[in-house]
């Protein structure tokens, strides 16, 4: 799965859960500061991403996923590992 595919999939999740336009979900944006997600919404996004991409996002990694790019990179690496 390419970075573009992961970004598009993640944008769909953020759109469904937080009502943010998919075009707003860009690599350099911060989930909390730019996209205005709260802490529990991040948990919900992570759970949905686990289902969609077939990866595990442990709590200790979730706290480091500050930007969309962080999440895309993590999912890409975790997907390869799986």
């Amino acid at each position: 799965m390419t970075q573009q595919d992961i970004l598009a999939g993640l944008a769909e999740i953020v759109n469904e859960i937080a009502g943010i336009e998919t075009s707003e979900v860009e690599l350099d944006k911060s989930f909390i500061d730019d996209l205005d997600l709260d802490s529990l919404t991040m948990v919900e996004v992570a759970t949905s991403a686990e289902d969609k991409f077939g990866v595990r996002i442990p709590d200790e990694n979730l706290k480091d996923l500050k930007t969309v790019r962080d999440a895309v990179d993590f999912i890409e690496k975790a997907g390869v590992a799986a």
Binding site: I17, A18, I20, D38, L40, T41, E44, T47
Partner: protein
């Protein structure tokens, strides 16, 4: 540091300083905002209707749901992604709070001087029930991470505090159906004690779901007039057979009169005093002589510096239960004595149904608007008054209140033996 210290230091209300209401908001079975609720009350409008898709074995098949206009407003103001993380009780609280805050002119205030006292009687019960369904049907991993902040009893207060950025304190006194009034009493204390300059206060409730309806029906608290919901809520009427569960929210903005005048805010009236007692008699049945409720009403008047003869109007708790309505009538008579002869009582639950933890707040708004317009709203469905009720209740049409300065009271009682009365003066 000095600036921060002076900013957060208590600023108690001075002697004789009144606490006034400068904003109101209501989302109810008879209207999408406070003005439409008031017009509905004056017209004795009906808020109760049959429930669609209702389980056959739940014996009560109707309730006072939000009006279509109120439901449409809720859907417009709370988009789908916010509904995932806000229980319906938090949603109705937010919509009413936004109305009240805008109505108050969105006061510019240091967040550390803004407080919130917004409560409910039951909290996010439908979240508990639907998430339990999710867990049983799809497994524990599917339980939403938002479940706890949606079900917690302080959820409505927390949601309003977060939206308005209130940092003086968020308080959520829970006393079943007296909760909304108790929240207003706490708000009054908060400003008097100098802990806040502005407090957004009130109550919300949204538990129209088969389980709570079945539970209230099991305790024989609800009307079972399934064939005629519009005639079911009939306070003080001989044929009353229980209350009608309602949903919605009422929110008020309180501040010192001097602050309100300084910023040129409109003033609905004065929250002049509060009285709170407990019966310690039975977990749900009212103390039959009304002694505890009478003490609350007398305490509210004393706190407000009012004499019984000053009271022109009372918005009664009167839920349309056989026992409760009589006990409250006795309580009012006991507290006010012969001055009760000159009081026009309204029981607005005939229109709205019983909004449980929101009732006191919605009825505080009705009481303030009655003072403003000098009109006591009619009591819907009061066709044949109970002989045991020796008070003057407004029936078919709005009743004009006396001339001169006006004062009024509103009563709320809750399962658990809670009695709360609020006293108001015209602006």
């Amino acid at each position: 540091m000095a600036a921060a210290d002076s900013r957060t230091a208590p600023r108690p209300a001075g002697a004789g300083e009144e606490i006034v209401v400068t904003g109101i908001g209501a989302l109810t079975p008879i209207g999408s905002d406070a003005p439409s609720m008031w017009q509905g009350l004056l017209a004795a409008a009906n808020g109760a209707r049959s429930l669609p898709d209702w389980p056959d074995d739940v014996p009560v098949k109707f309730a006072a749901q939000l009006s279509d206009e109120a439901e449409a407003k809720l859907n417009a103001e709370i988009p789908p992604h916010q509904r995932r993380k806000l229980d319906r009780v938090q949603q109705v609280a937010l919509v009413a709070a936004r109305e009240a805050w805008a109505d108050a002119g969105t006061p510019e205030i240091d967040p550390e001087r803004l407080g919130v006292c917004v409560t409910s009687g039951i909290g996010g019960l439908t979240t508990i029930l639907t998430q339990h369904d999710t867990m049983r049907e799809r497994g524990a991993a599917r339980v939403s991470p938002h479940t706890v902040p949606m079900l917690m009893p302080n959820g409505p207060g927390a949601a309003v505090g977060l939206e308005l950025k209130a940092r003086a304190g968020v308080h959520v006194p829970v006393s079943a159906c007296a909760s909304g009034s108790e929240a207003l009493a706490f708000a009054l204390d908060m400003i008097r004690a100098g802990r806040a300059d502005v407090v957004v206060a009130g109550g919300a409730e949204a538990v129209i779901h088969p389980l709570p309806i079945a539970a209230f029906a099991s305790m024989r608290a609800l009307s079972t007039r399934n064939d005629e919901p519009s005639a079911a809520s009939r306070p003080y009427d001989k044929a009353r057979d229980g209350f009608v569960m309602g949903e919605g929210a009422g929110i008020l903005v309180l501040e010192r009169e001097s602050d309100a005048r300084a910023r040129g805010a409109k003033i609905y009236g004065v929250l002049a005093g509060a009285g709170m007692t407990s019966d310690a008699h039975d977990v749900v049945a009212p103390e039959p002589t009304g002694a505890g409720a009478a003490r609350a009403l007398a305490a509210a008047l004393r706190d407000a510096g009012l004499d019984p003869a000053d009271i022109a109007h009372i918005n009664a708790h009167a839920t349309s239960t056989p026992q409760g309505d009589v006990a409250e009538a006795l309580a009012m008579r006991r507290a006010l004595g012969s001055a009760m002869d000159a009081v026009v009582v309204s029981a607005t639950k005939g229109c709205t149904g019983h909004l449980l933890g929101a009732a006191g707040a919605v009825e505080a708004i009705a009481t303030l608007l009655a003072l403003r317009d000098r009109l006591a709203p009619p009591t819907r469905n009061l066709d044949d008054p109970d002989d045991a009720v020796d008070i003057d209740v407004a029936r078919l049409d709005p009743r004009p209140l006396r001339s001169g300065p006006l004062a009024a009271a509103s009563n709320s009682f809750g399962f658990g033996g809670h009695n709360v009365s609020l006293a108001f003066r015209s602006a």
